[in-house]
């Protein structure tokens, strides 16, 4: 039973929170709402839940218009960023609460709670109260309570944002298993592209109250329709440069003055573009310290700062042309700030956007999207 948003808008005072959003969500795979803070993710979720009413447009669940229906009459469960549980109840009673409200008998309650607890690895702590649990277990309890309800719609609003990153990592791997197991439609809001990619499913890239693109997550990642989507789904942010194409050759504007153009051996798709000015985007992990191919474009600059995560290094490079780019290297590499640095770009990895910021060329190597096994 799909939930359908038809040309939904939400305006509060002078601000547009949502502009003309149309979206159809299905059960089975998780639907990720991805975008920065204030992109409209929470507003959209509140509309779906029935907590707010849209100023325009309709919400249709299972063919039935539910636009004006209050949250009490809809079958919705919600999980928030904060760990919200009944503090005086045991974990068991917390998970059982929505079932008891529904009036299920003792036996069924026990069966369903045990099932959900097992799925979320809470079997060992059912008798404890939430405050005796770790943050991860508290959030698992909240999630268990949401799924046990068998609601048509389960909304998760940045549920992992308040957890330590290792716990976040574990839950990210476990959550997709849960999404497939019930008949509910799952909607998951997050600001982190890596989270959307790990959860798989389908992603709606949101920007300033609009849906920029809605498709399979890997598809949105590999073939972003426009610059905004490309940016939304890139962490670290995508790097951009200006490019001119003419007469079968292409050049990048890498210096501050527009006249200096660095020519490069353009892949056929780029060389075939109509003459004109374009924006190229390339992801941080396609910036390398050694040339990978013969046609790699060489750029020099100075290292602003090297950020190290556990298994990757992010080099923030100020190019001599005045751009701030980020290079992502696998492994931990220490570089002192201020170091002179040479980086290489692979034209085969360029995303090309036209003057209207729409995608015209996607990297040729990345088209075969493998999908989820």
């Amino acid at each position: 039973m799909p939930i359908e948003l038809q040309r939904v808008s939400l305006r509060v005072g002078e601000t547009d929170h949502l502009r003309d959003v149309s979206l159809t969500l299905n059960e089975g795979a998780v639907n990720v709402l991805l975008g920065p803070t204030l992109a409209g993710k929470t507003s959209l979720m509140r509309l779906m839940a029935g907590l707010d009413q849209p100023t325009a447009g309709r919400i249709v669940i299972n063919g039935e218009d539910v636009t004006g229906r209050s949250v009490r009459k809809r079958s919705v469960a919600m999980v928030y960023q904060q760990f919200i549980n009944y503090p005086a109840f045991s974990v068991y009673d917390n998970i059982a609460a929505p079932l008891r409200t529904k009036g299920l008998n003792r036996h069924d309650v026990r069966r369903k709670v045990t099932e959900a607890a097992k799925l979320l690895k809470l079997d060992g702590v059912l008798e404890k109260t939430p405050l005796q649990l770790s943050g991860g277990q508290q959030q698992r309890t909240a999630i268990a309570r949401a799924i046990v309800k068998d609601a048509d719609l389960v909304l998760l609003d940045e549920p992992l944002a308040n957890l330590d990153y290792k716990l976040r990592e574990e839950l990210r791997v476990e959550l997709p298993k849960i999404f497939g197991k019930t008949g509910s439609i799952f909607v998951y809001a997050t600001t982190e592209p890596s989270e959307a990619l790990l959860l798989g499913g389908r992603t709606a890239a949101m920007h300033e109250g609009r849906i920029a693109q809605f498709d399979d997550t890997t598809e949105v990642y590999r073939r972003p329709l426009n610059r905004i989507t490309a940016q939304t789904l890139s962490d670290p942010p995508m790097n951009f440069a200006r490019m001119t194409v003419g007469g079968g050759s292409a050049g990048l504007h890498l210096a501050a003055d527009d006249l200096a153009v660095t020519g490069f051996e353009a892949p056929p798709a780029i060389a075939a573009l109509p003459t004109g000015s374009y924006t190229v985007g390339f992801r941080a992990h396609h910036v390398t310290l050694l040339p990978r191919t013969r046609s790699a474009v060489k750029v020099t600059g100075e290292l602003a700062v090297a950020e190290l995560s556990g298994s990757d290094s992010f080099l923030h490079v100020d190019t001599d042309g005045g751009e701030r780019w980020i290079a992502l290297l696998s492994g931990v590499h220490e570089h002192p700030p201020g170091e002179r640095i040479t980086i290489y770009l692979d034209p085969a990895r360029f995303y090309v956007f036209d003057a209207g910021n729409n995608l015209v060329v996607a990297p040729s190597l990345a088209i075969s999207s493998a999908g989820r096994n």
């Binding site: 803070t37 700062v305 190290l308 556990g310 992502l328 590499h333 700030p337």
Partner: protein, 357 residues
């Protein structure tokens, strides 16, 4: 300026600790050099905050000594220790301006007016707070407030060490790396010892020259970010640093061969010297496992592939053990059986969770 040394330092909230779990900090010896940038990294409850409190003087250690420049300060109160601290939630004096906030510690120490003014200007410049000097501290955003708190430590010429207690907790994600980079730069400019407590690997590794990884009250490794990644000294370090974490598999050792499940791995060195007894484990980072169709290695069944864009995380199962590997974005992953080929120099051997050199 201070060199900080911990001598047989341990702490327990119990009067007479009998069990390992009763120690908040297990006995440790450490020397932190003047002007270094250190991070205390670990999950919640690992003892890193207790250690920070021992250094700041909030907690008097039950065992051992803490020395600043060779002077025993174990029983000296916070205010006499010449340290400054930036807290998790920004602490500013609401009713005072930014300039007054920065001058406050100097004023209390009776520093001359002109010296005070020039120090405040200097620090404000370093932190980019100059345009805000006349503003009341009350209305500032969290990141600016944190800069003001840091500034109150930096103005003092007598400060030997600045302690940071998860200072970026309440900072917006997109400002985090800017502030992190700024703290880093300030460290380079001032030559003050800085100790940064966090549970976030990126923060710790980006900030520190040396990272102290703590686990269950114990320091399990002190090393540069690169060492933590390349040579995790404890299985916990392998798990905690890096995402996904290191694969840790129970193994039996026989000369330069390790038996993992029903398979045998050749190690690059012979571990004849390894003491007999104890439990052995093999640690291999997912980045150092190549996914092949066949050949020598560990045959495994693919359970799931997470395509996260720039890499694919391949979740496999081998003899009932979960094991993950990382492949490039363009690599095809067979959906059934694969062979995981480890880089032989990147296989770590652990005895009772500690790395065997």
């Amino acid at each position: 300026m201070a060199r900080i040394e911990l001598e047989n330092l341990a702490h327990s909230y119990f009067v007479n600790p009998q069990h390992p779990w009763q120690w908040a900090l297990k006995p440790m010896n450490m020397s932190w050099k003047q002007g270094g940038a250190y991070a205390l990294l670990g999950p919640s409850g690992c003892g890193k905050t207790t250690l920070l409190n021992v250094i700041s003087g909030l907690v008097t250690p039950s065992h051992g000594k803490i020395l600043f420049d060779g002077r025993d300060v174990s029983h000296i109160p916070t205010e006499a220790r010449n340290i400054a601290q930036v807290f998790q939630f920004p602490v500013v004096y609401d009713t005072m301006t930014v300039a007054e906030n920065l001058a406050f510690p100097l004023q209390n120490r009776g520093v001359a007016k002109d010296v005070m003014a020039s120090r405040v200007r200097q620090v404000a410049h370093m932190l980019g707070l100059e345009p805000l000097l006349g503003r009341r501290a009350r209305g500032l955003t969290a990141d600016l407030k944190q800069k003001v708190s840091l500034g109150r430590g930096l103005v003092r010429s007598d400060v030997g060490a600045i302690l940071f207690d998860e200072p970026l907790t309440v900072i917006d994600p997109h400002l985090k790396w800017q502030l992190r980079a700024q703290i880093r730069r300030v460290h380079a400019e001032t030559d003050v010892t800085m100790i940064y407590v966090t549970h976030d690997q990126t923060e710790a590794l980006t900030f520190a020259d040396h990272v102290v990884v703590m686990y269950q009250g114990e320091v399990v490794q002190v090393g540069t970010p690169q060492e933590l990644f390349d040579k995790p000294a404890h299985t916990f370090v392998g798990y905690f640093i890096g995402s996904p974490g290191m694969n840790v598999l129970p193994a039996e050792l026989d000369g330069n061969q390790a038996r993992v499940g029903s398979h045998v791995l050749s190690l690059s060195t012979r571990f004849d010297g390894a003491a007999p007894g104890g439990t052995y484990e093999i640690g291999i980072r997912p980045e150092h496992l190549k996914v092949a169709r066949n050949g020598p290695g560990l045959p495994a069944a693919v359970r799931r592939v997470d395509d996260i864009g720039r890499i694919k995380i391949v979740h496999c199962e081998m003899d009932g053990m979960a094991i993950s590997a990382v492949t490039g974005e363009d690599d095809e992953v067979p959906s059934d059986g694969v062979v995981l080929v480890p880089e032989s120099t990147r296989i770590h051997l652990y005895r009772n969770s500690h790395r065997v050199e």
